[in-house]
Symmetry: C2
Subunit: 157 residues, 2 copies
């Protein structure tokens, strides 16, 4: 059963933007990350949840999409993610976040796939811009952004 989830969990980049993802769903996903292993059990990851159009737009404009597809600027309006989870490292706890954000993302993505959602891990981020736009404190390091929604793509392995 975990195999089916992992095989189904592809990197989705186009979504039914009008199909909402609730805050409750995002909190359930973070709960999965919270209960996953982390380096030295320091629990230094923090999360910003967004499922509201204005905040989503702020996050979207700071993301780079699919570096290999030079001619593709990312999903068009109407196909953009319906929600985001921004993964932060709290440098007041530690400045080495090991591969904790990888572990956390995988837990959250598998949870998302189980709920019929899909997502994509984004590391190409205008971090300074996003830090300013979301008023993220300077003691947080933006590690990754998880884009989420109801996939509008059929992926074939």
């Amino acid at each position: 059963m975990i195999k089916a989830l992992i095989y189904k969990n592809r990197s989705y980049r186009r979504f039914h933007q009008d199909q909402k993802v609730t805050m409750e769903t995002l909190e359930e996903l973070v709960d999965l990350a919270r209960h996953s292993a982390c380096g030295a059990n320091l629990q230094s990851l923090k999360y910003i949840l967004s499922c509201e159009a204005n905040t989503n737009a702020l996050i979207f404009k700071r993301l780079g999409w699919a570096a290999y597809l030079k001619d593709w600027k990312g999903p068009a309006e109407g196909e953009q993610p319906a929600a985001y989870i921004v993964l932060l490292g709290d440098t007041t706890i530690h400045t080495n976040f090991f591969c904790d954000h990888g572990i956390a993302c995988q837990s959250m993505l598998l949870g998302a796939v189980e709920k019929g959602l899909g997502g994509c891990i984004l590391a190409s981020i205008n971090r300074k811009g996003l830090q300013k736009d979301l008023a993220i404190g300077q003691h947080f390091e933006i590690l990754l952004v998880l884009a989420l929604g109801h996939p509008k793509e059929t992926v074939q392995l």
Copy 2:
């Protein structure tokens, strides 16, 4: 169901050493990692699988266990892991492994838990020693060691 697996997936450090883990099982776990996301889809992780006593012993002696427990040198003979997966980064592909090893470990651990196994991600490794003992090529970077077996611990959340 993913929630139950994630909650059950704790860091186990003592095992029924005499209860074998087969090579086939390890290959199934690596298959889960292979089908998980990785940075820029570069697939730069490689794996060494060990479920045989002699190789296990070589790996075991290069590991540091539970830094917080100063008086505990790691599991005693009879309670040591029955198998290991050594995660390597292939520097001929890329020298930045992002958090790929975190994603891969979480996939493999969830697969292990589903099979009634348990494990622990170890980052405290005498890397030079292990590289020599296992004759690992210099173009590989040892990222993590995943210790696996039938847990001899009951973890309470």
